[in-house]
Point group: C2
Chain length 145, copies 2
DNA sequence: CTCCTTATTGACAATTATTATCATCTATTA
DNA sequence: TAATAGATGATAATAATTGTCAATAAGGAG
């Protein structure tokens, strides 16, 4: 569904700022972006767009599930567009590169949980950490970062 | 291995502050604590302990792998003691309760990755979100939080 | 045990990140 | 096109994190 429908159907307005931020997320599908990343990229398309607006818009997008929060090691909160293509991430501890991982064993885990507790699982997140092929090749498999 | 050895073997000193913070983590095994949580609890045992020291100590503990960072939804960074008992978490979206999940299918995922890429996995994190039995019983399965 | 050396601490200041306020602007609808 | 209410951006206010430095105290030598 397109952004306009998703916004209007909940009583929110379609604004250029929201469209720009949405486009930034769309163009970086699979690449988690920090708030500052989003702000910089959005400002390229619409100079002057305020950082406050980025905060507000991402809160909204998260509420509407237009964007999903992504947890990686490191301080910042990252965001990604939610295109319904469920996936996870592999983060290189040396260069910080983020690769996509489409595999997910959540059903198996849900089975395990169902047998052992009454917790109802509705979502999850997962990140794998390690070293990307490039860093391994360059002998940076144990480098800092 | 005990804290003293872990510190001294790397040239760090054993201080009461570090011991107190370690004890706080130990007494809350399985329950992720935020920096403020840790600070409050540590201050009960040692009034006056500075927040700066908590920041510094947790950076150190993380480096020494005495503590592990835990990612949950929400802003704060959480920490947990690393007792070698690998586990994950289930977070209730209604009451915020965190339950332990000892199940982990990382080996299966590593197999999948090995077949599909050359990324070398050395660690991972995972959290499941949903509703705890209490909240389900109270009909708060779709409540806010 | 006492004295040195130097890592560590805590108070404070400086930065940085996030949230609140409010006048102005503008998307929507009639 | 005009009216209305939501949204934006500038600014201020808070909160979170990091840096500085004099005072303290842990660990090692004697
Ligand atoms: Zn790499
Ligand atoms: Zn998954
Ligand atoms: Zn609950
Ligand atoms: Zn695991």
């Amino acid at each position: 569904m397109d952004l306009g429908k998703r916004l209007r159907s909940r009583g929110y307005r379609v604004t250029p700022q929201r469209e720009v931020i949405y486009r930034v997320l769309q163009e970086n599908e699979g690449k988690p972006l920090s708030l500052d990343d989003i702000h910089s990229l959005a400002c390229e398309k619409r100079p002057g767009l305020g950082l406050t607006t980025v905060y507000r818009t991402l809160d909204l997008f998260r509420e509407l599930e237009v964007a999903l929060p992504v947890h990686l090691h490191g301080d910042s909160q990252y965001y990604e567009i939610n295109e319904g293509k469920h996936h996870h991430h592999m983060v290189c501890l040396s260069c910080g590169d983020v690769e996509l991982l489409e595999a997910c064993l959540i059903e198996e885990i849900e089975d395990i949980v169902r047998d052992g507790s009454d917790f109802m699982i509705t979502g999850h997140c997962m990140s794998l950490f390690g070293y990307c092929p490039d860093c391994l090749e360059r002998g940076r498999g144990k480098g800092s970062r």
